[in-house]
Symmetry: C2
Subunit: 138 residues, 2 copies
DNA sequence: TGACTCATGTAAGTATTCTGACATTCATTG
DNA sequence: CAATGAATGTCAGAATACTTACATGAGTCA
C-alpha cells in the first residue's frame, strides 16, 4: 500500500516538474543531473549515474545532450584513468538557476500541508526506509 | 531534497520488487496491474491505466502481454460502449497470489524500521503531499 | 614484472513508455 | 432529432532507459 502511495506521489511530482521545466527545455532527469553537478563539480559520468539512479549509459547520452547544448563541459581526454570530469558551464549555471526557482515552488507546494515537525519526520522516515531496503544487494 | 529522497526510495523499491518478481516472470508494473484487477474486477483499460499511473496505450500493451500468457481475459466485443472489461483468470489469480507473498515481504522490510505510529504518519503525510500537488491540472 | 580484479566510458540492440492521431460509442444539449 | 463533447480502444512513430558487450586504465598481489 505504501509502495502505491510512493508511486502515486512520484508520478504527480514528476508531472508537475516536467511541466515547470518545459519552458526551459529541460526534463526532470536533466534537471537532476545539473543539480548533481552543482553539488559535485567535476563528477564523473558513473558518479552522476549513481546519483541520478540511472545506468551510466543513460547518463552518458544525457550528458552528450547537455554538452551539445553547451550546458556542461567534459575534457576530450582523461587526465588520469578513464574518468572525464564534467562541470557546469556558465550557461549551465544560469539554466540551473532558473530551473531551481521553478522546482522550489513545486517542492514547497508539495509539503505545504505539513508543518516543520512533520516535514522532518517525513524525511527521517523515508531515509530509514531507504536504508532498510538498501541493505546489501549489489 | 524530499523529491530526491522519493526518487531514491522508489528506485530501490523498484529494484527489490523486480528481483523478487523475476522468478514469476512478472515486472513491477505487471504486478500492479494484476493487483488492480483483483481489487476492481472487470475494470476497463483506461481505468487500469489511471490506477497504474501510465498512459492507456501503455496499459493496453501490458494487458495484451498478460492476455497472451493467459493471466487475464477480455471479451472480444464490448457489450456497451467501447469498454472491454478485464478480469483475472484462474491462472492469473494464482500468479498474483505468489507475487503478493513476495512483495509483502519487501514491503514489510521497507517499513521495518518504523513503528505503527510512524507508519501511519508516513502514509498520512504522503497522502497530503499527493493532494497538494494534485490540485487541478488535468 | 605479470596476472588478476575492478571501475570506467562507450557502442549496439532491445525493451518500455510516451506523444500524436483516428475511429467508435455514449451522453448531453440545442 | 441532429450536433456537439467526452471517453474509450487502438495504431504508428518517437523518445527514453535498460541489457549485453567490449576496450581501456588503475590498483592489488603473488
Amino acid at each position: 500500500m505504501l509502495g502505491y502511495q510512493l508511486k502515486h506521489l512520484q508520478s504527480v511530482l514528476r508531472s508537475r516538474m516536467d511541466e515547470a521545466l518545459r519552458p526551459l527545455d529541460l526534463s526532470t532527469p536533466q534537471y537532476a543531473c545539473l543539480e548533481l553537478l552543482k553539488r559535485s563539480p567535476g563528477a564523473s559520468n558513473s558518479e552522476l549515474a549513481r546519483g541520478g539512479f540511472v545506468t551510466r549509459q543513460t547518463m552518458n547520452t544525457m550528458l552528450r545532450g547537455l554538452q551539445d547544448r553547451g550546458l556542461v563541459t567534459r575534457p576530450e581526454k582523461a587526465t588520469s584513468g578513464r574518468v572525464l570530469p564534467t562541470t557546469l558551464t556558465e550557461k549551465g549555471e544560469e539554466a540551473l538557476a532558473g530551473a531551481v526557482a521553478r522546482v522550489e515552488e513545486i517542492s514547497a507546494l508539495m509539503v505545504s500541508p505539513l508543518n516543520d515537525s512533520q516535514r522532518s519526520h517525513l524525511a527521517e522516515a523515508l531515509d530509514r526506509c531507504i536504508d532498510a531496503l538498501s541493505s546489501d544487494a549489489s
